[in-house]
Symmetry: C7
Subunit: 95 residues, 7 copies
């Protein structure tokens, strides 16, 4: 993929709600602030804080649950992707 | 459980109001900002502050009182859970 | 009591307005933002700031004047208590 | 007096507008955000900032000009007092 | 004068708009957020930041241009004065 | 080009939506907060944080995806350009 | 000129839109948040941050593009000037 996110941003491809993955995670329709699931395709180098970078706790390949709020849609070579900040990610699936 | 919360987040399974636990804690219906009780299932590694992680004061297995405000509902293998920040937790039961 | 407050929080049992204590403190009904009196039952370990905990200036047993704003009511073994942040405490009685 | 203010708070007894003190300070009725004069009865130990306390520039006995905004009224042994933050104090009288 | 301002505050006596001073500064009536001119009578010791005081760039005797927003009027021995923060001062006259 | 952006700002020339570049990135019309593509012409030295400059992760010549929010249009020698902050840039194309 | 700006402020004389300078910069009327051009006449010593001053990236004589938002008009010896913060300056002309 041709995208390198900046700072504490990541690039995610959404996993459809009906798709069952090995993690067993399902996101209910009744949730107030509806979260989404996705696969991480690329991560930034981390934001700067007082002269050092804050490392990300996410790597490419992770399955994550995230809040869509604040994300930006983009299409690369026909692939629909989302650019998020790491702080929009609530949890990741344990493999 | 297949969920690893990020940063200062925790995963909680709510304890129903009528359930009595060894802690003796009951949450009155008349409370203004109604708190909830839950069992902690997983905790994050802590958020970064100036190059070090801030450790969490909560571990898996704790019984906690929390404010639901800001939490996100998620279902893992048919189990209804809540992802919160540690700052949403007011107190824990002393064992 | 079975509650351990987190961070800079404390647990307080309210002293009724008509109760006179050795401190001689009375809180007038005419006060704009009406403060309350209480006895401190438990205190947290302090919040983290840049790698160290900020110690609390309050210990269990203190009589304190506090603003109820932000506190959360909870009942433990039939005892009605309030969980506050230390910043909601204005002053303590000198013994 | 039986009150010890917490952090950067102070306890003040208001000086009535018509009272003339040695400082010669008078507060006009026409002032937009009307300030008040008072005598400082007790001061806190200072708030914590990055592991050290910030000392107060006010001591008991000072005559101060303050903005009432944010203060809380309290009565101790029949004495009407006000609990303020040091940041609510604009200036002190030079003796 | 009998007033010592606290922290980063200063005491100013306003110079009337029609008064011409050696600085040649005039403040137009058409200015959006109308600034004022004044003579500095007293300055504070500076606010605390991480264990040190931030020194003021203004000394008593300076002629300054300031935004009245946030200032508080006070009268000392019949003299109408204004207490401001240093951040309300835009510039000083070069002598 | 005759413009040097200040601090963490950059100067960008927008790439039209229909233009296909080697990166393969396309931005859909249906995106909520519609992002834009551009070529970076100049970058600032970085903003100051506690005595050091925060270096930019972008250099002149990069193809970037940015949010137009907060940008300012300017024309230099007939060339229509945009001045942005680095934080408005979401990602860059990997070459 | 008789004005010394305080902290991170600068004094600017606006260049009229129709005036062409060596920099070739023109500011279009159609810009959303219309920027302005000006010549810098004086700069402050920089604001304090944790015990050191943050140096300004602008010197007297620079041609700058700035956002008028937040600036204050002042007249010195019949000269109409503007006092801005450095953060209101977007870029400077390269000589």
């Amino acid at each position: 993929m041709g995208l390198k996110p900046l700072g504490d941003r990541i690039v995610v491809r959404q996993i459809e709600a009906e798709d069952v993955t090995a993690s067993g995670i399902v996101l209910p329709d009744t949730a107030q602030e509806k979260p989404l699931r996705g696969e991480v395709l690329a991560v930034g180098e981390g934001r700067w804080e007082n002269g050092t970078r804050v490392p990300l706790d996410i790597v490419a390949g992770d399955e994550v649950i995230y809040s869509k709020y604040g994300g930006t849609e983009v299409s690369v070579d026909g692939d629909d992707l989302l650019i998020l900040r790491e702080s929009d990610v609530l949890a990741k699936a344990v493999k």
